[in-house]
Every structure is written in structure tokens, then in C-alpha cells.
């Protein structure tokens, strides 16, 4: 078919354009319909607790993803340094996911539990105090700023709209769960009932009577990569 034929006939050109765009669209969109089949069935994944979720918001606000990835690739060097490669299931409740593509700093997909809360505190105040050769900037305001969690239930609600399975009970007790995770007292039994017994309750920022932004961020970091129970995970031949 000659250019001239196509270019001189608007209907023909419109139809051919539609056909072309449809093919491109189908190839890119149809696989998404099958995405459920590509997410591994694993034990242990749960939606983030309200405190972890706020920490994740701070992670995004401070642009941590600009230098830290959360994606361990299936290569030997990464497996030996960071641990088991990341599974799709591990970011299924992330909106948006934090895989990142830049590693000025190390990958954080399995940072959870690797270092103590105390270390995270010292590191955020001034990274060079604990890692002299680090180029990471300091984030001292995180410990000073009180965490603003007035809208936490709305955040859970918003995520439930895009498919994160928060229950009505989890949404209505979000504030209470957030306080229970960061402060002594509170209702840890309720938090454990709603999010499982593995949830870490702690004074994450070294300030027992205050919920700071650092509390939320450290709670989030300490959870990263620890949810999936790999003892029951049979690596599929993928």
C-alpha cells in the first residue's frame, strides 16, 4: 500500500492507526490481567501497620528511593550480600512500589532487623558518625518532628480502595494501633490481633514518650523484608 493511498483517505488512516495502537495496547495491557498469577503465594505477607505506613510515607517524602532500591535481584552477588531475592508478593501492597533503580546507597529490601533501633537513630542523626565513608545526608529533624497521623484512617481507607485488604476494623482502629506500636501502654493485644504476632512494638526513636517521624520511619525500615516466611517457600522454577 502506498503512502499516498493512506494519506489521502482519512477513514483508512484512522482505521489503520486504531489497529496499530490496539496491538501495542494489547501487548502492554493484557499481561496485567494475568498479573495475579505471577505473584507468588507466600505466608506472612500482611498490609503495613499504620505506623509502618506513615514511615513509608516519610520514606517517600524524603526521597529515599532516589538513592536506595528495594529490589534484590536474583544474582549471586546480591543473594550473598542482601539475602533472598525479592518476590513480587513482597511489594503487592505497595502503592507505589519502592523498587527504585539507583543504588548510591545499599539496597534496603531486607534491611529489617539487620541493625538495632539505636543504630538507626544514630545513623539518621548523622550517618558519618557510624559509617565514616558514607555520603548520606543527615535527617535530624525526623526525631524532632512529632508525627502527624491525624489522617491515618483515611490513608488506610484510600489504600483499601486500590486493593490493599485493610478490614473495617483495621481502619477504624488505625490511630489506636499506631500509638500501641510506638508507645508503651496502648493496646498491643489489639495490634497483634489485627496485624499478627510478629509486629514489633518498640520505642523506635529513643524518645519513649513521643511519637516522632523517626519512630514511623524506623518501624517501617525494621519491617522491610521480614514479613515473608521463607521456611515454607518453595522456589518455583521460574
Amino acid at each position: 500500500m502506498q503512502h499516498a493511498t493512506i494519506e489521502k483517505s482519512i477513514p483508512l488512516m484512522a482505521i489503520l492507526t486504531l489497529v496499530l495502537v490496539s496491538i501495542g495496547g494489547l501487548v502492554e495491557i493484557v499481561p496485567l490481567f494475568f498479573i495475579k498469577g505471577t505473584i507468588e503465594k507466600v505466608d506472612g505477607m500482611r498490609p503495613y501497620t499504620p505506623l509502618e505506613l506513615k514511615g513509608r510515607d516519610i520514606y517517600i517524602r524524603e526521597g529515599c528511593y532516589n538513592c536506595h532500591s528495594q529490589m534484590i535481584r536474583p544474582f549471586r552477588d546480591e543473594a550473598e550480600r542482601y539475602g533472598h531475592y525479592s518476590l513480587a508478593a513482597e511489594s503487592m501492597y505497595d502503592h507505589p512500589f519502592q523498587w527504585g533503580s539507583k543504588r548510591t546507597g545499599p539496597d534496603l529490601a531486607r534491611i529489617g532487623g539487620k541493625y538495632s533501633n539505636q543504630w538507626h537513630h544514630a545513623h539518621m542523626m548523622r550517618p558519618q558518625n557510624v559509617v565514616p565513608e558514607s555520603v548520606m545526608p543527615a535527617y535530624p529533624w525526623l526525631a524532632k518532628n512529632a508525627l502527624d497521623y491525624g489522617d491515618i484512617d483515611k490513608r488506610l481507607r484510600a489504600l483499601s480502595k486500590v486493593g490493599v485488604p485493610y478490614t473495617e476494623e483495621q481502619i477504624s482502629s488505625a490511630k489506636q494501633d499506631l500509638m500501641a506500636q510506638a508507645l508503651a501502654g496502648g493496646d498491643p493485644a489489639g495490634l497483634n490481633k489485627r496485624y499478627g504476632n510478629k509486629v514489633t512494638k518498640d520505642d523506635f526513636d529513643g524518645q519513649p514518650d513521643k511519637i516522632s517521624e523517626l519512630d514511623a520511619l524506623v518501624a517501617y525500615l525494621q519491617m522491610l523484608g521480614t514479613l515473608v516466611d521463607f521456611s515454607g517457600y518453595q522456589a518455583q522454577t521460574r
Partner: protein, 303 residues
């Protein structure tokens, strides 16, 4: 394409009334480009057949080669482990003392331990184990140990972790003593290193140290720490209370730092790295812990 060659046009003319006909050249794509383009299309089809490609009904096409990234990783790891298998099995059987006597195995362990240390331990203890004042992370290159510097104790510290608890003493931060008493205690602690400025306060602090505050129960009657010290002739529990008489300070040597330690208390957590430990995200296997132990022991302070 040179100018004097005839190039076909799309055949349409615009503006030909004006005497300057506008036409569009119909330049074909260079042949090499076109065929490369076709070749990539053919290659993509071959690729779909050979490798995992299309999601189909909850699964995906596996490709005739049966290749997968995860399988390749497993093979690579198996291969690497097979190479180390002999020597690792040997190390697993041997005690730390035995390994320390065999120079080639010791060097192998130390270089392996160094790599493991660099990733897991150095964030707190610093590259080369020099420690950090910022979080009270101990220096591992000196011979001032909180729990002991023998191979076995270092191994135990890494496997089980340690929690050091210095309680708060000031009323305002949850303790039982007032400002003046805390100042007295500070003066007395400074006196261990000959730096007390106030004899009267020093004396009152002495009484508190061995009396109501009970500092000697962990730090010892002479203040030389739970490892070396004694209280009333009895050995002290292994609580990791530092020696207060030497020049090595975990949280700072100056008056202000020492006073803060007494007033607010300190807690130092060394996470447990052994198998089955819930504290850490990544467990180290016993062999890795052996290697780190030998590395730490080699840093200079090992006993």
C-alpha cells in the same frame, strides 16, 4: 543520498497555484536499517520460543530452553558452595581453638569473616571494628572487653546477642536520685581516672556508689567493670558493665557525657545473629559466625 539522484515524491503537490510547488520526498529507509529492523522482529519471535515470555492464563510460556533466572542463580550458588565445600566442612568440624592453630584455615576464615563483618557488623562497629561513640558501639580493636575477648565469648556474643542496661538515676528521667546526688556520683566516677574536682562531692558519691545507688553491684567495688571487678569479694554477674577506671569510654569521657550516662541511663543492644534468632532479619549460620569470631579476635584485642 546525493542531490543529483532522482528521488520519488509522495505524489501530492501543495500550493501549486503560486508557482512554487511544495512536494514531499518519499525517501526510503536505508536498506541496512530496514533489514536490521526485520531481523529484530524475527529474533523476538525466536526469543519467545526459547525463553520465558508470555503470560497465559495464570501461568506463562516457559520457553524450550527451560532457562530461568532463578534456576541460574541456584546453579551459580551451588557451584560456589561446591568449591568451598571441603574446607567449609573441615571448619565446621573444628573448634575455634583448632582453627586458630592452623594458619591456612585461619587466614581463610579471617578473610571470609572480614567480608561478613563488612556487611553485617561494620555499620555499628565501623570498618575494621573501630567502633563509634555516636551510638555507644564498642571498639573491637582494643583489649577493653565488656563480656570477654576469648574466642568462645566472642562467638557467644555474636550468636546470642547482648543487652547492656545502665539504669537511669535522675528522678526526672525515671530514677531515684536528685540532681545533687547525680552530680556527686559523677564526681566519684571521675575520681577513678583522677579527675574529681570536688572532694566533698566525691565522698558523698562514694557512699552512694557503694550504697543506695548500688553501682558496685555491676561495676565492682573498685569500679573496674563486671569482667574484672568484684563486689564484697564476689565475682560480678556478666552484665557488660564497663570498666570505669581506664581511659576507654563507651559514651564519652567528659563530665557532661558521664553525667548524662548516670542521669538518663544507657542501653546498648548487640543483636543476636545465631540461627533461630527472631531479632534479626538475616541469620548468620554457625560457620559464618565462626569466621567473624576469628576475624574479630584477630583485630588486636583477642585474648
Amino acid at each position: 543520498m546525493s542531490d543529483n539522484q532522482e528521488v520519488s515524491t509522495t505524489g501530492h503537490q501543495w500550493d501549486d497555484d503560486e508557482g512554487y510547488p511544495l512536494q514531499e520526498y518519499n525517501n526510503p529507509l536505508p536498506k541496512w536499517w530496514l533489514y536490521t529492523f526485520y531481523a529484530t522482529i524475527v529474533w523476538s519471535v525466536i526469543y519467545w520460543i526459547l525463553y520465558p515470555a508470555w503470560p497465559v492464563g495464570g501461568d506463562f510460556t516457559k520457553g524450550v530452553l527451560g532457562w530461568s533466572m532463578h534456576k541460574e542463580l541456584r546453579e551459580e550458588l551451588d557451584e560456589a558452595n561446591a568449591k568451598k565445600k571441603n574446607v567449609n566442612e573441615q571448619l565446621a568440624r573444628m573448634s575455634l581453638q583448632e582453627i586458630a592453630k592452623k594458619n591456612d584455615l585461619l587466614q581463610y576464615s579471617i578473610s571470609g569473616g572480614k567480608a561478613i563483618f563488612g556487611d553485617n557488623c561494620a555499620p555499628c562497629h565501623g570498618q575494621g571494628g573501630i567502633g563509634s561513640k555516636a551510638g555507644g558501639f564498642p571498639n573491637l580493636t582494643d583489649d577493653d572487653w565488656l563480656y570477654g575477648g576469648s574466642l568462645e565469648t566472642i562467638q557467644e556474643t555474636i550468636t546470642q546477642g547482648r543487652t547492656g542496661q545502665m539504669p537511669a538515676h535522675l528522678k526526672a528521667t525515671g530514677g531515684a536520685f536528685d540532681e545533687a546526688q547525680v552530680n556527686d556520683l559523677t564526681q566519684y566516677v571521675l575520681s577513678f581516672s583522677g579527675r574529681s574536682q570536688d572532694a566533698a562531692a566525691n565522698k558523698r558519691g562514694d557512699a552512694l556508689f557503694h550504697g543506695d545507688a548500688g553501682c558496685n553491684n555491676c561495676h565492682g567495688d573498685q569500679g573496674n567493670g563486671s569482667l574484672k571487678g568484684t563486689a564484697g569479694g564476689q565475682a560480678l554477674p556478666p552484665v557488660g558493665a564497663p570498666n570505669l577506671t581506664d581511659a576507654i569510654w563507651l559514651h564519652g569521657a567528659d563530665l557532661v557525657s558521664i553525667r548524662e550516662s548516670i542521669a538518663k541511663g544507657r542501653s546498648g543492644v548487640m543483636p543476636a545473629w545465631g540461627k533461630g534468632s527472631k531479632e534479626v532479619g538475616r541469620e548468620l549460620d554457625p560457620l559464618a559466625i565462626k569466621q567473624v569470631t576469628l576475624y574479630v579476635h584477630s583485630l588486636g584485642g583477642g585474648r
